[in-house]
């Protein structure tokens, strides 16, 4: 459990960091995935650029209808932030499910998203929330929608030398109901499946449904068929069941020691049902 030799730098300035990344450095955020991978020698970056000292990447603020979270904001900061809890409760709820206390104190929202683990907790909510990522490299900045960001298993829209600097989250409609429900893999704590749901109601009808799913397929995704089935309904148990049954539509389910593809698919439906029920009940 000893990593290969590597160069380590911990710049305090973003520009400096981007320069180092441009010349081949590997970004280190909270280190909750990269460090174990390095210790197992499954990765051997020559130069690790620790982003942990860049104060400018750690913030949560509200601006004109959106929340902005710096990429190096820890899960615990998200989970416990009064601002996130009131303006975007789904994200805070999702953060509270990640790993354990130690992991939440170290792991960051940017690091988690950039790693794009197919069973990570955050991406389900990031999908349901339709967030945007602010990316930066030495050659400039750009903004990418979450749908374009997650490309495949461990694969994102990030180009070499590029990092997430900020996650932009729309402020939640105060009347919306949200929920993140997760089946926990007993060894790792990752999601066997995790479903994030956002429901807005008006006049007794579901006007907007957003469902993000993690753990089920090669990457987190929006279950748009389920959303469609629910929108326009009254959100009764039967409506929810129908929508939940469609959550796995078009997805080839993962299989591993802890859950076969069939079981995962079924659990995605069960947990979608649970997340939707809670979200519907919370929507006012």
């Amino acid at each position: 459990m000893i990593a290969h030799i590597f160069e380590y730098s911990a710049p305090t300035d973003l520009k400096e960091a981007l320069g180092q990344l441009a010349s081949g450095g590997k970004p280190l955020a909270g280190g909750m995935s990269l460090i174990p991978i390095m210790k197992l020698r499954l990765a051997a970056p020559e130069h690790v650029v620790d982003l942990g000292r860049i104060v400018a990447l750690n913030y949560i603020r509200e601006e004109a209808g959106t929340l902005h979270a710096g990429a190096m904001t820890t899960h615990y900061q998200i989970e416990s932030s009064p601002l996130v809890r009131s303006r975007c409760p789904l994200l805070a709820e999702a953060a509270s499910h990640i790993g354990d206390v130690q992991v939440r104190n170290m792991g960051t929202i940017g690091g988690s998203a950039a790693h794009a683990d197919p069973a990570a907790d955050y991406p389900a909510s990031l999908m349901a929330l339709e967030v945007q990522f602010r990316l930066a490299s030495s050659s400039g900045e750009r903004t990418v929608s979450v749908e374009d960001f997650f490309v495949d298993t461990f694969a994102t829209a990030l180009q070499p030398g590029e990092i997430i600097t900020e996650v932009i989250i729309p402020v939640e409609d105060p009347s919306a109901g949200v929920s993140y429900q997760k089946m926990v893999q007993p060894a790792s704590g990752y999601a066997i499946v995790g479903v994030a749901a956002r429901i807005t109601k008006s006049g007794g009808k579901v006007t907007k449904a957003r469902v993000g799913v993690t753990g089920l397929g090669p990457k987190a995704f929006r279950a748009k068929a389920a959303e469609k089935l629910l929108e326009g309904t009254e959100g009764t148990a039967a409506d929810i069941a129908k929508a939940a049954a469609a959550v796995s539509e078009g997805v080839e389910s993962n299989t591993d020691l802890h859950a076969s593809a069939n079981y995962r698919t079924q659990m995605a439906r069960v947990y979608a049902g649970r997340a939707l029920s809670v979200a519907v009940s919370r929507a006012t």
Binding site: P186, A187, S188, S260
Partner: protein, 778 residues
């Protein structure tokens, strides 16, 4: 000399005293093997086979040797002079493969040590490992014991193509008659999966050779320092008295450190070769791959009974997955299962056949319970299966078959003599705790409401205080030395090797009570073969029952000597020793224990036929094992949609004889239950068909987590053991043994509406979900 009135201080035995070893453990001031730094120390890293079976065509070490900082690389060719990793078990016809400390021409399991690099720091050592080229010719492997004994299976050891290491047959009573007279026979295949002990501290060794003194010191994270000294001295062909084994703080063992491993001899060999101290610390990956696993049973049970529930006889065909080699006691572990197979029930007829099977996996050996959890799981599942078959209440059928309180000592058909017991008492207490009739009514209501609620009972017995010497390959006695120093401080040197069991506290309690001294004046020393007299070690729930008894007798010797000196100092024959003072009954004059001790060392005057000093040593041989017992009741609820199991209540009533420290006993029960739950619900070491351990990390091997533990309602009945003077039975393994059948019985009971009779562990959510949603097909 002061005159004092006697006020009897309250005894410490029986008190909830906080563990005296804990402050250093929780403040990071304890010294583990990894904390040891010796000037000039080098570091070793071991190259291990990625194949479960392969021929080694060649090993190229030169590129590693060329790396700056690398001092030496050794392979199997260099270490052929070292004796094999020892197997202490002997069974008739046992096939013992020659277990070299480094593989030579062939590897037998993933993780098999192939070469070792020694370097000036651990980082260089690890980097150099990647520079060694091994040319392997992969061979077919077999990881499943039943597949291994099927025709055509690849041979693990080519010299024994049937993969059978031994067979063992035991019979008691008249099994054929029992089955002929039976109204009903229930049969079930029950597995007890491979488990990874996962001590918090992995193994580690520091070896130091002093060429001038021709002496080798090994610091090792072990449960058996003295046995290790004897065995490693033999492996290295050095005089035993020039080998010192020191056990620093040990962060858990659960049996996995009740062993002598290749690395202990290997580090000794290296230190003697390079004349430098060398350290090796096992990584978690290595711990999973190379430290022994536990369990690994496939059991075929047949239970014969009368229609009224009277059990008549039990047959067991036991297939033990041994792994590729025998570690210290590997082949003996399933024989413990056979000894314990009748459980607490008084049928007189048994038949058992063990087949010990080689597989291309890391060896199995003693893991918390060592053979007894498997046996208990088997009999307690079979009793429930019989109860279901006869439509009897599981509690009722147990009461009907228990050995009765007036039948002790009770001779079992497996040749044991149960020491003492009242087997109904803990079950009655547990049933009362859950209000059984009410609970049954609640279950009936829950079932009507479509809920899957389960009630599971286990009435377990176990063998502890291991054990009388004839039952153990290297002796089963234990030793203690007690010294009262000239200032009156008390030093205990025990032959056991505590590594979490808390004897630094419990032994101090015993000594403080016996000698009437302050507990803070008592120091318990263990785990250094040069300081402590020979001892056997800590395993098999023996520490207090055997080691504590040796201590008790040494204390009695000392008390007699104290009284002699007290009589001399007080010039009286009428002496009482109490509360740390000798008191003359006539005059009321007294001397303190410190005064007595001081006088004994100054020896200006000695009592008749008495030597100076205040030291006593006892080696105590127990006349029998002890047999703790108890009843656990588990209430579960199964989520139909997901197969998740929720433990609603966990009631444990354990009879472990007399209790020295209830706080420590609580901890032992909690920890034991945690590991029992681990086996019942989550843990499994999974090898794929090619012998790759695919649960090779804590990412996939599901240990119990604190957050998943139920509340344990723990209480006791107390039936003292007549075997030892303390009346204790042992508690280290009780929780584990009682737990798993209670959990599985509860979940099977919850799934009764689906006609489920048995489920193999671990009860993963998917397994349960399939049973619920596919009408009984797992």
């Amino acid at each position: 000399m002061a005159t004092t009135t006697i006020t009897r201080t309250e005894p410490l035995v029986g008190k909830r005293i906080r563990r005296r070893e804990d402050p250093r453990l929780i403040t990071g001031t304890a010294t583990y093997v990894e904390d040891i730094q010796i000037p000039g120390m080098h570091h070793a890293c071991i190259l291990r086979s990625p194949h479960a079976a392969a021929r080694i065509r060649s090993i190229t070490t030169q590129p590693a040797l060329d790396m700056p900082g690398v001092v030496a690389v050794f392979t199997g060719a260099d270490t052929q002079g070292i004796g094999p990793v020892p197997c202490g078990a002997s069974l008739p016809g046992l096939r013992v493969p020659y277990h070299r400390i480094l593989a030579t021409d062939r590897v037998y399991f993933v993780g098999h040590a192939v070469a070792v690099v020694v370097a000036t720091d651990k980082y260089i050592a690890r980097d150099a490992i990647d520079l060694i080229e091994v040319d392997y010719e992969p061979l077919p492997a077999v990881a499943d014991p039943e597949k291994a004994i099927a025709p055509g299976a690849p041979p693990v050891h080519p010299e024994w193509p049937d993969n059978v290491a031994f067979t063992f047959h035991q019979e008691g009573g008249d099994i054929d008659k029992a089955f002929a007279e039976a109204d009903v026979v229930v049969k079930q295949r029950i597995t007890s999966q491979r488990l990874i002990p996962t001590a918090m501290e992995t193994r580690g060794v520091v070896a130091e050779w002093r060429p001038g003194e021709k002496s080798l010191t090994l610091r090792s994270s072990t449960q058996i320092p003295h046995l290790m000294r004897t065995l490693v001295a033999q492996m290295l062909s050095i005089p035993e008295n020039r080998l010192r084994v020191i056990t620093p703080e040990v962060g858990g063992g659960f049996g996995s450190k009740f062993n002598v491993y290749a690395e202990e001899a290997l580090m000794g060999f290296i230190a003697m070769k390079i004349h430098k101290p060398v350290k090796w610390i096992e990584s978690r990956r290595e711990n999973f791959l190379c430290t022994i696993h536990g369990r690994g049973h496939v059991d075929y049970f047949e239970l014969a009974a009368k229609r009224d529930g009277t059990m008549l006889g039990l047959k067991l065909k036991l297939i033990q997955d041994l792994g590729a080699y025998h570690q210290l006691l590997t082949p003996l572990i399933p024989t413990f299962s056979v000894l314990m197979m009748p459980g607490l029930y008084k049928f007189a007829n048994i038949q058992a056949d063990i087949t010990g099977v080689f597989t291309n996996c890391v060896p199995t050996d003693a893991y918390r319970g060592a053979g007894r959890p498997e046996a208990t799981h088997g009999i307690e599942r079979m009793v429930d299966i019989l109860a279901a078959e006869l439509k009897m209440d599981p509690a009722e059928i147990r009461f009907k078959n228990f050995v009765q309180p007036d039948e002790f000592p009770y001779a079992t058909p497996t040749g044991l003599s149960y020491d003492s017991g009242n087997y109904a008492a803990p079950l009655e207490k547990a049933l009362a705790a859950v209000d059984y009739p009410h609970l049954l009514a609640e279950q009936a209501k829950a079932r009507e409401a479509g809920k899957l609620m389960g009630i599971g009972i286990s009435s377990y017995g176990e063998i502890c205080a291991v054990g009388p010497s004839p039952a153990m390959p290297a002796g089963g006695w234990e030793s203690a030395t007690v010294k009262i120093e000239p200032t009156g401080k008390v030093t205990i040197m025990t032959g056991i090797s505590p590594h979490g069991q808390g004897e630094e506290t419990t032994f101090a309690q015993i000594a403080a009570d016996e000698l009437g001294v302050d507990i803070d004046d008592v120091l318990v020393i263990h785990g250094d073969t040069t300081v402590v007299q020979y001892g056997i070690g800590t395993f098999g729930s023996r520490g207090t029952a055997v080691g504590g008894s040796a201590l008790y007798f040494a204390l009695q010797d000392l008390k007699a000597k104290i009284k002699k000196f007290g009589a001399m100092l007080l010039d009286s024959d009428d002496i009482l020793f109490a509360n740390g003072q000798c008191i003359c009954n006539k005059t009321g004059k007294s001397v303190t224990i410190a005064e007595v001790a001081g006088a004994s060392y100054r020896a200006m005057k000695l009592p008749p036929d008495t030597e100076p000093g205040m030291v006593a040593t006892r080696f105590w041989e127990p006349p029998n094992f002890t047999f703790p017992f108890g009843a656990h009741i588990v209430v579960t609820e199964v989520d139909k949609d997901t197969g998740d199991i929720a433990i609603k209540r966990y009631v444990a009533v354990d009879d472990i004889g007399k209790i020295i420290n209830p706080l420590i006993v609580d901890g032992q029960i909690h920890g034991g239950v945690a590991q029992g739950l681990g086996q019942a619900l989550w843990e499994q070491a999974v090898y794929d068909d090619n012998g790759q351990l695919i649960t090779g990390e804590l990412m996939d091997y599901a240990l119990p987590r604190a957050s998943r533990m139920p509340w344990i309602e723990s209480s006791h009945t107390v039936t003292p053991s007549p075997v030892n003077p303390l009346g204790v039975k042992g508690v280290g393994e009780a929780g584990t043994i009682g737990c798993s059948p209670a959990v599985v019985n509860s979940v099977v009971n919850a799934l009764q509406p689906f006609g489920i009779r048995h489920i193999d562990m671990p009860l993963t959510s998917e397994k349960i979900w399939k049973l619920v949603n596919a009408g009984g097909q797992a």
